[in-house]
């Protein structure tokens, strides 16, 4: 039967018109890049389904009906940190008895503990612990690769790389080359927080400035290290500052094409210096995914990190712009220090079921988005998946 004139697109068109988003909708249909002002208008729109409808057009244009996931293990090699970020509940100061360092042997043990799990990614991030020497970082990467050569080591955020170069007392190009030689495969996207000088001054002044973060990301990309990019939202930042963040990432991506995926991270206030703030709302979580998908036209992927927004919300995001749902994770510690009540791991089957129930096709990838598994006899795109 042919679509009736009273179709759902016309429901959306009416809603988009009411929200003053008709011209943006036309740009989305044409594939025209959105401006910062467009982004602000999107942020003001309360109709999450209208935003989702547009974001889903882009999402399906890029990834069809696929939803990516990875089997990974997290290793947080130290919780000692000298940056005192007020949004963090994970770190302790140098002399705190709760401080720990995983030495190369400990890292090796952590990897051995999970040898039964067919992970393709080891994700290693941690605090900035100035007592750790340059060799330490090379050694923990080597420890992983020696124990489990087939995995990709995805490790070190930009601030960690800056610290590693500081203790190395070497030019960063040399450091990148030595880390790669030790086995570093790609970079995570954490630590970008909000790329705004005001937010930087107020809640993470000891960390890299936005300009420095972008500079490190550029250098890493030029050295052949692909990375992700994140944004920590839901604390003191304004909607305009979130858009500013996306524009800065988009600009750098035009230049380097080094970013693999964008990951909005929902702030968890519990146990942080900002514990008085409420958790992010479900609607904000969905909107943030949708707006990111619409603004970042040069990013191939937008990921929903279920550890932070909960598995149910991550499942919903698969229709609001996300094409990636992260992975099995195996022991997340940073967000759980901030009171997350999500599980610390999901099984592969749980992830696959969650994706399938949402009418998407699960695809297991490695950290560089190479396909590891795809159901052989999958039954084609589900009805309604690709408009």
């Amino acid at each position: 039967m042919a679509p009736t004139p009273h179709s759902v697109p016309s429901v959306f068109e009416a809603a988009l018109d009411r929200a003053g988003l008709s011209s943006i909708y036309r740009k989305v249909l044409d594939g025209t890049r959105l401006t910062g002002d467009d982004g602000l208008k999107l942020a003001e729109c309360q109709d999450v389904n209208a935003l989702g409808y547009m974001a889903n057009l882009v999402r399906e244009r890029k990834s069809g009906n696929l939803c990516y996931f990875v089997r990974n293990q997290h290793i947080n090699y130290t919780n000692i940190c000298n940056k005192d970020c007020s949004f963090c509940a994970f770190y302790v100061r140098a002399k705190d008895p709760a401080g720990y360092v995983l030495w190369p042997e400990d890292v090796r043990k952590r990897v051995l503990e999970q040898m039964e799990e067919p992970v393709t990614e080891i994700h290693m991030v941690a605090g900035i612990n100035p007592r750790l020497p340059y060799e330490y970082y090379l050694d923990i990467v080597r420890a992983v690769k020696e124990t489990r050569p087939a995995v990709t080591v995805k490790a070190f955020t930009m601030i960690e790389l800056a610290e590693i170069a500081r203790v190395a007392r070497k030019p960063r190009e040399e450091v990148f080359a030595e880390l790669k030689a030790a086995g570093l495969g790609s970079l995570p996207g954490g630590g970008a927080e909000v790329l705004s000088d005001r937010v930087h001054r107020e809640i993470f002044p000891l960390k890299l400035t936005p300009a420095e973060w972008l500079d490190w990301a550029r250098a890493a990309h030029l050295a052949g290290l692909r990375s992700n990019a994140t944004m920590l939202y839901g604390h003191i930042e304004t909607a305009a500052e979130r858009i500013e963040h996306l524009l800065k990432l988009r600009e750098l991506q035009d230049e380097t094409k080094g970013f693999l995926t964008f990951i909005p991270l929902a702030f968890h206030p519990e146990n942080t210096e900002m514990a008085q703030l409420p958790a992010t709302s479900g609607l904000l979580d969905l909107k943030q995914i949708a707006i990111s998908r619409l603004m970042l036209d040069n990013f191939e992927h937008v990921k929903s990190f279920w550890i932070m927004v909960t598995p149910p919300v991550s499942q919903l995001t698969l229709w609001y712009g996300a094409d990636d749902i992260d992975g099995t994770i195996l022991r997340e510690e940073i967000t759980h220090a901030a009171g997350a009540r999500t599980p610390q791991a999901l099984t592969r089957n749980e992830l696959v079921d969650l994706v399938k129930e949402a009418g998407r096709e699960p695809v297991e990838r490695d950290p560089l988005y190479r396909i590891i598994w795809r159901e052989a006899a999958h039954d084609g795109a589900r009805e309604g998946a690709v408009a």
């Binding site: 039967m1 042919a2 679509p3 009736t4 004139p5 009273h6 179709s7 759902v8 697109p9 016309s10 429901v11 959306f12 809603a15 309360q46 109709d47 999450v48 389904n49 209208a50 989702g52 409808y53 889903n56 409420p278 958790a279 709302s281 479900g282 609607l283 904000l284 979580d285 969905l286 927004v309 909960t310 149910p312 919300v313 499942q315 919903l316 229709w319 609001y320 009540r341 079921d353 969650l354 129930e357 949402a358 009418g359 998407r360 589900r382 009805e383 309604g384 998946a385 408009a387």
Partner: protein, 394 residues
């Protein structure tokens, strides 16, 4: 978007009633923004103001003793079980006063089907409550009413009329589960049949006691049985117009006899709300189930046909016994409603809007409530005997 979906959307736009086949198709349709937008359109048609309502109410689970032994329930204790309880008047009074202290009027008086409690218990208790507090009694459920009538040797109408005269204001639609006897036989073989449930509702509506309707989905039912449930509610509503609202919630399997059932997802919840909103064209209000879904998904439901955030509950024992853990106070509820772009307005149990107290007043009342609850919890941790629990849903 599939042609079939667009065809159904066309019917909705043209204000044509959906049939069972339409609903069945929608229950398997994955495009959430499309489903949500359609349900949202209907919501605005019925409620053109950007308002989401809530009710300041509390659960009062007067007994957990129950002989019906539903497999989906982790709250009940069989008669004779040492953990069985019936709340004393002191305990009831203290709990009602806590509600009045936060400015609330809705008492959800609900419990197990306790063979020790006869009609006189309810009549006396209701009169006593209504004499001492200015509250609204949203009490019992169809299975409790059916049983009270049976053991009293009275007709349903006589029983419900006496209860109404003693103070029953409205009857919650709990225990609807899935109104399909194939499902009820499997998950609650001793409970009332679908026809019994409908008959209690019909009788209530006839004698002027309005009710709500619920649906507990996500146990063993098929999508077709969900549609059957919706159709029975819609048919009775055509006949009586006595349902104030519809409230779907998901079965929480963890601590029940059906613990091998997988917990239904938020995705399923939103889709179920949207389909029900589209199908039940004669029911005005849809209530979010934050108790089963948590704050994030419940808030998102406000864009899937839901126009009401439900009750503040104060104390919840039934879903939490089964493994649900969500709690929410009024300031948090208001924040979520406002964050979604709506004004938060209190209502009574019959969905008449009430004047909203100032935010300062609300914050002060709930601050005192939190302090009192914390003090009670501390006393309990220190060895004082625990008050028996409260809290059915709905």
């Amino acid at each position: 978007m599939s042609d079939r979906f667009l065809e159904i959307a066309g019917k909705v736009r043209a204000r044509q009633r959906l049939d069972a086949k339409d609903a069945l198709f929608l229950f398997e349709y994955p495009d959430l923004p499309a489903l949500g937008a359609l349900a949202d359109m209907v919501r605005w048609r019925i409620h053109p103001e950007p308002v989401v309502t809530y009710v300041v109410g509390r659960n009062l689970n007067y007994t957990n003793v129950c002989w019906v032994r539903c497999k989906f329930c982790a709250f009940y204790r069989p008669p004779g079980d040492p953990e069985g309880y019936v709340l004393t008047r002191d305990q009831l009074g203290e709990k009602i006063q806590a509600l009045v202290d936060v400015g609330g009027r809705e008492v959800l008086f609900q419990g197990g089907v306790n063979p020790q409690l006869k009609l006189d218990y309810y009549l006396d208790t209701f009169r006593w409550i209504k004499t001492n507090w200015d509250v609204h009694l949203h009490a019992l459920s169809p299975v409790e009413a059916t049983y009270i009538a049976k053991i009293s040797g009275l007709s349903l109408e006589e029983t419900l009329s006496k209860l109404r005269d003693a103070g029953l204001d409205t009857l919650p639609g709990a225990g609807g589960e899935i109104l399909s006897d194939a499902v009820r036989k499997e998950i609650s073989p001793l409970k009332d049949t679908s026809d019994d449930w409908i008959e209690v509702m019909r009788t209530c509506h006839r004698i002027g006691v309005r009710t709500s309707a619920t649906m507990m989905y996500g146990s063993v039912e098929t999508p077709a049985q969900r549609v059957e449930h919706l159709a029975r509610v819609r048919d009775l509503q055509d006949e009586t117009g006595g349902f104030n609202s519809f409230i779907p919630w998901s079965f929480i399997p963890d601590q029940t006899e059906l613990s091998s059932v997988k917990r239904a997802s938020g995705f399923d919840y939103l889709r179920t709300n949207a389909v029900a909103r589209l199908f039940l064209d004669n029911v005005r209000n849809f209530q979010a189930s934050w108790v089963t879904q948590g704050p994030k998904v419940a808030q998102i439901a406000l864009r899937f046909g839901v126009n009401d955030f439900g009750s503040t509950v104060l104390e919840e024992n039934v879903v939490s016994a089964a493994g649900g853990t969500h709690t929410m106070d009024l300031p948090e509820m208001i924040r979520l409603i406002e964050d979604a772009g709506f004004a938060a307005i209190p209502r009574d149990t019959n969905y008449t809007l009430r004047p909203a107290p100032s935010r300062e007043e609300i914050d002060a009342r709930w601050g005192r409530h939190r302090a009192r609850t914390a003090a009670l919890a501390a006393a309990e941790a220190g060895g004082a005997p625990a008050l028996p629990g409260q809290g059915a849903t709905q």
